[in-house]
Symmetry: C2
Subunit: 293 residues, 2 copies
């Protein structure tokens, strides 16, 4: 029993006229006659009583009509659904993001959700390195990460970010060259923004220190950026934070961007290249417009 035959059957049952049904189905009357004959042979029932004034349903035909219309309707709904899935109008999209994209990521997701309400999009907070692992195993489809990403992933740069010195207001501002910085930071009590290991902010900070050739004493360690800035404001020490944190810098703290190569990194989106979900490019485009806007 194939859906094609059931569709033909329904058409005949509704018009009670083979010729008219054939026209509606964009086929010919002999073809329809044969199809119904096949269906009758397959079901073992005579479905129509053929009269001179068209065809009328037998009891068996009536029984089939009710169920087959339901079946065909479901099949059509399924086809439609698959079409929506193909277009990316439906589905699941897991997005990862880290501290450094706290401004872009939620905005992008919210905008995307508005455009595609049937998509189940979720935002999960995790560091870049965790995101890379999650993307690789498929549990995250697009990540907002620090670049570069592993080679099996596609990336798009959103912006370049850099480290900045968080210094209590009123302190003498060091020149942003290598030697001044080394001198400044050497032996200075430092508040460290601690996240995971891997290509994160902590790693970036370490890289800078290696570049400068100094190793400050760490006074406090915390994983919350606001806590760090509050401690700096309270005079507990200096710190190194993303320059993009300027948006949330409290009273009593100034940020001094560091223009050294080792203090600069890119932030962007990453996704598995072999992923074929139509949602990924759709979401990337949404991000692009949101970053520009």
């Amino acid at each position: 029993m194939e859906l094609r035959l059931l569709r033909s059957f329904i058409a005949v049952a509704e018009t009670r006229n083979f010729g008219a049904a054939a026209r509606a189905l964009m086929t010919t009357q002999p073809a329809l006659t044969k199809q119904i004959q096949v269906l009758e042979r397959q079901t073992g029932n005579t479905l129509f009583t053929r009269g001179r004034h068209g065809a009328s349903l037998t009891a068996a035909g009536e029984a089939l009509l009710a169920d087959s219309t339901d079946l065909v309707r479901r099949a059509d709904a399924l086809a439609l659904r698959m079409e929506r899935v193909a277009m990316g109008a439906e589905g699941v999209l897991n997005v990862g993001f880290g501290m450094s994209t706290i401004d872009v990521a939620p905005r992008s997701v919210a905008a995307f959700r508005e455009c595609h309400p049937a998509v189940d999009i979720r935002l999960e907070d995790m560091s870049s390195s965790v995101q890379f692992a999650a993307i690789r195993e498929g549990s995250v489809h697009v990540g907002f990460v620090r670049l570069p990403a592993p080679p099996e992933m596609g990336t798009r740069v959103i912006r370049r970010d850099q480290l900045a010195l968080a210094v209590p207001s009123g302190e003498a501002i060091p020149e942003p060259d290598r030697s001044s910085l080394r001198e400044c930071l050497q032996d200075r009590p430092l508040i460290r923004l601690l996240k995971d290991r891997g290509p994160g902010l902590a790693a970036q900070t370490n890289e800078l220190f290696t570049d400068l050739g100094c190793s400050p004493t760490v006074m406090y360690e915390t994983s919350d950026l606001l806590t760090v800035l509050a401690l700096v404001a309270a005079g507990a020490g200096w710190s190194l934070v993303p320059a993009s944190a300027s948006a949330i810098v409290p009273e009593g703290v100034q940020l001094i961007p560091i223009d050294l190569e080792s203090a600069v990194w890119s932030v962007g989106t990453a996704w598995l290249l072999k992923s074929q979900s139509p949602l990924v490019p759709l979401f990337l485009q949404s991000v692009e417009t949101n970053v520009k806007g």
Copy 2:
């Protein structure tokens, strides 16, 4: 989207292995590969990620799997149901019966209902002529009627029945020859069992009177056999009833079968010859065993 493709898809999705699925479907692996490719083209989605260790479902494939199994299950159920309808294990059967088959008809229907519980069988009381009309228009499928039936119907004789004189006990019993009967009945008050016109009991009675060449005076008319017999017992007059009524004859009444040709008729089943319902022969067979038993 055809059910064949969905069945193939489900088989692959369940085994996660094209070769194994092909074996299960009694086909070959290349055929399956092509079917899935067609399905993927039709739905516009990649349904499997083909790895070295078999195939695994994509997100789109997962979405399709749930709905398609449901769809296929429904289609199978429908096919099964049609099979049952074809076998006569399911359906509607309307049976008509009259006074003269009050013994056989309900028993046959009850027995049939027990054997085929899914069949919605209904018994309706109506005279033979009404049954013929109902059978012709399809509202009754099998009737218990007086024979003969119209030529477009098939028939089977259940038994021969005849008219009998219902006489109060103690009355002189007339010889059952034509002249004695005429003499007896002429001018005798008669209680008439009145049903509809047509080839019914009343017609049979009239036929007998024509044959005898007499026309008794009708004292009472009623359509209930028991009332007729009660009136006879009360001495209100004589009557002509089916000889088979002997089973319910009350005290004070005796039945005298009339052996004349014009007083005899057959009782049996009738059905539309062009009816193709499998329930009809099934029911007829059931009747046959019930009549013999």
